[in-house]
Amino acid sequence: MNKNNIIISFVLIVFSVLAYIETYSFRVPTSKIFPRTVLITLFFLAISLIFVTIKNYKNAEIRIVRDKSINSRLLFYVFSGIFLYISAIVYLGFYLTTYIFMIIMMFFLGIRNILKLLLVSSLSLFIIYSIFSIIINVQTPKGIFF
């Protein structure tokens, strides 16, 4: 049986119930119609997925679609890295943080050649600076330094 289907269905059931309760706080009645319709449907779809998953488990002839496997530890490291990067942008500014992030990230992903690390990071920053700051004149997040 695909346990993930059951888990995600329960998560969505709880989620739709909580979101439905929240609709009571909307002051205007017409604002409740659309979200409530959507949440009720989502609730029943989640219940249906539980039944279908259990039914498919009992019916051996039905092909089981396996979920894709993702290395959860790696995912944790990558997301932590991205989160740190985004948080640091506010303090150090976009360009400095991005330069440090790119070097660390590429090193983490297996590039050990220092020259390559510095060159790729510098080139990427140059391209980003040219496109965003010079050509289309977009403001980048500023920090303490610049």
């Binding site: 969505l12 403001q139 997040p141």
Partner: protein, 495 residues
């Protein structure tokens, strides 16, 4: 129409427009040639850049990018047997055997010319069919527009998902997310929890960035390959790139007529897409060929059929998008985001009030295909080298571009956190085999559906019977029902 076309021609003579069409085509070919990326990711990353441009220039660049990306994947498919995008899988079947026989140049030439003809054919279809369909869309009232939004959603749900249930769950979750923010119908704030940045709802671009760009960067990291393409894979190009007249005699019907027609029609049908067009184009060519036994062993006809068909989807898929707001596939769903950030709402207004921009976009596809032909014939071998960029470089670059892209539209760090949240959602959906396109489409179509539903109720009250009395509404309801029962019919047929 004539006035708009003249305006469009004048716009296209602007050096800035030409320059960005060239940039779009080149970037499209490069991104298309990198396995693991593709038109969706590329357009996602380009949208924030186009936001700061004149809408005409920005949209022409997006259109050119779309053309280039669909073609770009064929280069690596032919030379190293790795399709840059899923639409080029059928290209591998005959392109790579040709390359192994020492006919890599000719294979690239046929693929480039096939893509060019497919693109030009569908651009003509777009130019002639879209305005007529847009005039027809003028008859649509709130009920039709509401049903159209629902149809767009159900069609993409049922045709892009392996499981109807998961597709519907994804779509309805997206519809829920679209209710966050200020309610334009009732006038109250919903699910904002006092966060000012959420008052305008979930920002579209950070959501797209998270669902597609950042998610793909993380998938690339997770796959754990230093190089997407093995460096030892050899590139076989020894011969001339231009096919001979004798070659043309063998493939002209497939290349110029059958496959472009198939591709354009499939492009118009929502939910299909470049992959299906290439497969059907290929199988039809094989079915009617005098030498079907050559297919899969290096048949020029097979190669031409797949490439001509998949590029013909580009113009075809823009027809329902520009006229009715129904994206045919994930690429056009993201493209719709590109239109929306410029305040361009698909429908009749696009062909009247914003006629100059729309006709310029449609005509720019001709120019994009011409540039694609030139760059393809001259530089295909060079473009193939980008497939060797390691994922350890590609992923951090995508993360940085996505971060800046999400921030830049509102200069708001909150949007970057939205991107991260949607990336977590995207990864979860990828892992659990939930399609991502419906959630994106629901975010776009949800507010339209709700506003039109509100108008419908204020005009007709709660009596929904009127929907069956209006002919267009009735047809739309039938189409929605068909799109919902189609997966069951397909499953029964497969059994």
């Amino acid at each position: 129409m004539g006035e708009y076309i003249l305006n469009a021609i004048v716009n296209l003579l602007d050096i800035e427009v030409i320059l960005f069409i060239i940039v779009g085509v080149i970037l499209g070919i490069i991104v298309g040639a990198i396995p693991g990326l593709g038109a969706v990711i590329g357009i996602t990353l380009l949208i924030p850049i186009t936001f700061y441009m004149d809408p005409t220039v920005g949209l022409c660049m997006l259109g050119a990018f779309y053309c280039g990306a669909v073609y770009g994947g064929s280069i690596t498919a032919i030379l190293i047997n790795i399709p840059g995008t899923s639409s080029n899988i059928a290209t591998c079947w005959d392109g790579y055997p040709m390359a192994k026989k020492g006919l890599g140049g000719k294979a690239l030439g046929i693929s480039t010319i096939g893509s060019f003809y497919g693109g030009i054919f569908s651009s003509f279809a777009l130019l002639f069919i879209a305005p007529t369909l847009a005039v027809f869309a003028l008859r649509f009232g709130p009920s039709e527009r509401f049903l159209l939004a629902i149809l767009g959603l159900t069609v993409i749900v049922t045709l892009t998902s392996d499981s109807l249930l998961k597709g519907l769950m994804s779509g309805f979750f997206g519809l829920f997310l679209s209710t966050i923010g200020f309610d334009k119908v009732g006038g109250s704030f919903r699910y904002t929890f006092g966060i000012i940045s959420l008052y305008d709802g979930i920002p579209l671009v950070p959501a797209i960035m998270g669902l597609y760009a950042l998610t793909q960067a993380i998938i690339l990291i997770d796959e754990g390959r230093q190089h997407i393409v093995n460096k030892n894979e050899k590139i076989y190009v020894k011969d001339s790139i231009l096919p001979t007249i004798e070659d043309f005699k063998k493939i002209w019907f497939t290349l110029l007529i059958r496959s472009p027609i198939i591709g354009t029609i499939i492009g118009i049908i929502p939910g299909a897409g470049t992959e299906i067009a290439a497969f059907i184009g290929y199988s039809e060519a094989k079915r009617s060929s005098k030498h079907p036994e050559d297919f899969g062993k290096g048949s020029m006809e097979g190669l031409a059929s797949a490439e001509s068909a998949n590029n013909a989807v580009v113009g075809g898929s823009l027809i329902p998008l520009l006229t009715l707001g129904i994206p045919g596939n994930a690429v056009t769903a993201v493209f719709l985001g590109g239109l929306m950030i410029h305040g361009l709402i698909p429908g009749p207004e696009l062909f009247t009030k914003h006629g100059s921009i729309t006709y310029t976009l449609m005509l720019s596809l001709f120019l994009a295909n011409i540039f694609m032909l030139v760059f393809g014939l001259v530089g295909a071998k060079t473009f193939a080298k980008v497939a060797y960029i390691p994922s350890s470089i590609l992923s951090p670059v995508i993360i940085v571009f996505a971060t800046l892209g999400s921030y830049s539209l509102r200069n708001n760090m909150f949007d970057v956190f939205i991107m991260c949240t949607f990336s977590l959602l995207g990864i979860t959906m990828y892992k659990l085999n939930f399609p991502r396109a419906p959630i994106l489409l629901a975010l776009i179509l949800g507010p339209i559906a709700e506003v039109e539903l509100g108008r419908m109720i204020s005009i007709y009250g709660n009596n929904l019977f009127h929907l069956f009395l209006r002919p267009i509404s009735f047809i739309l309801i039938i189409l929605i029902i068909i799109s919902l029962i189609y997966p069951f019919l397909k499953t029964r047929k497969n059994k």
